[in-house]
């Protein structure tokens, strides 16, 4: 169901990580925590959505790390932002989701595997990770999510409203939005 009481508080902009047709009729915003098992489970389902509605769907990813419950979530988010500077946000986003089992248990060491897998420039990365702007960026995403009514991870917003329910119903809800287009 669409939650009318939970509207996206921060509009999608050029500051966001966006994948897919920039003019797509459906914008799907995901607030996610890289260490959250539910997000890892949703990851292949989101990929399927992107394939199914290619051209009609653009995906936006924003950080919502539950740091107290997931001690490595914040670092993973910052790593993704650091990778973004090297043009590798989505590659790192994908790697983090696909290898969650492996790195989540090992923390920092586990995340280093991702850096190597993506062949990121490690010196540049280390310097970037020391920049407090990274943490600020993640926190801004998080607080924007709080204001939008995000209540857990992953949370999905379809054209600006929170969707709650199972993935099948989400798929159909998106399909209906697309079908209604003139």
């Amino acid at each position: 169901m669409i939650r009318d009481d939970s509207a996206l508080a921060v509009p999608v902009s050029a500051h966001d990580h966006i994948q897919g047709n920039p003019h797509a009729v459906v914008t799907l915003v995901e607030y996610g925590d890289f260490q959250c098992p539910d997000c890892a489970m949703a990851y292949p389902l989101v990929k399927r959505l992107q394939h199914r509605y290619a051209g009609n769907l653009r995906l936006v990813f924003r950080h919502f790390p539950l740091s107290q419950a997931h001690p490595c979530a914040q670092l993973a988010a910052e790593l993704a932002e650091a990778a973004a500077i090297q043009g590798q946000f989505w590659a790192m986003h994908d790697w983090l989701h696909e290898h969650q089992d492996e790195w989540a248990a090992d923390g920092r060491t586990g995340l280093e595997a991702g850096v190597r897998a993506l062949r990121l420039d490690e010196h540049a990365l280390a310097a970037t990770l020391r920049n407090p702007d990274l943490a600020s960026h993640v926190r801004r995403d998080f607080m924007g999510g709080v204001r939008s009514g995000v209540n857990g991870t992953p949370n999905f917003y379809v054209n600006g409203y929170l969707y709650q329910g199972d993935f099948n119903a989400l798929t159909h809800a998106i399909g209906r939005v697309i079908a209604r287009q003139p």
């Binding site: 921060v10 539910d38 740091s67 107290q68 709080v146």
Partner: protein, 171 residues
């Protein structure tokens, strides 16, 4: 049973937070208080309302607010949950008499024998300034609490919660 509305004086209570400690509402006079009633411990962490609030304690503190979470679960369940989820706020046990405080606030679900999922924001004088009851199964997130706290004249907030205004925030 109707949820207590804004303008009502919040009923006093003293509840166990641990097997040998109690927390009384009156201890927080002078501070805003967030009462988060919830049905039961042990909801999955990724959709856990309390896990979210646990991430916002600094923000609540900046708004001079203390969070107290209340369910009818016993203190041992609370202790185990708090330890596992690293909660840094009290979980209060409305256990005996069962649901007495939830009833006083008008949100006891007698059919299921649990507190409803309800939020109250109290000001420093112990008056309810905002309350909200959710349908079973819906997680309210924190937007309502944050908005209610910011709306308090005493907090004099200009919507700067979380970070100084930046290009992304103003996007």
């Amino acid at each position: 049973m109707t949820i207590l509305a804004a303008g009502t004086v919040a009923p006093a209570f003293s509840l166990h937070s641990t097997p040998d400690q109690s927390v009384a509402l009156k201890e927080f006079r002078g501070h805003n208080v967030i009462l988060a009633f919830y049905p039961a411990d042990w909801s999955p962490v990724c959709s856990d309302q309390l896990a979210l609030y646990n991430e916002l304690l600094d923000e609540f503190a900046r708004l001079n607010a203390q969070l107290l979470a209340i369910s009818v679960d016993g203190v041992w369940s609370h202790a185990a949950l708090a330890r596992e989820r690293q909660y840094q706020f009290p979980l209060l046990s409305d256990f005996e008499p069962k649901g007495e405080v939830a009833r006083a606030y008008g949100i006891y679900d007698a059919e299921h024998g649990v507190a409803g999922r309800a939020l109250f924001m109290l000001d420093g004088d112990g008056v309810i300034r905002w309350s909200h009851l959710l349908p079973m199964g819906l997680n309210p997130g924190a937007a309502g609490i944050v908005n209610a706290l910011e709306a308090l004249p005493a907090n004099n907030i200009q919507k700067t919660l979380g970070a100084p205004a930046t290009d992304a925030w103003e996007a």
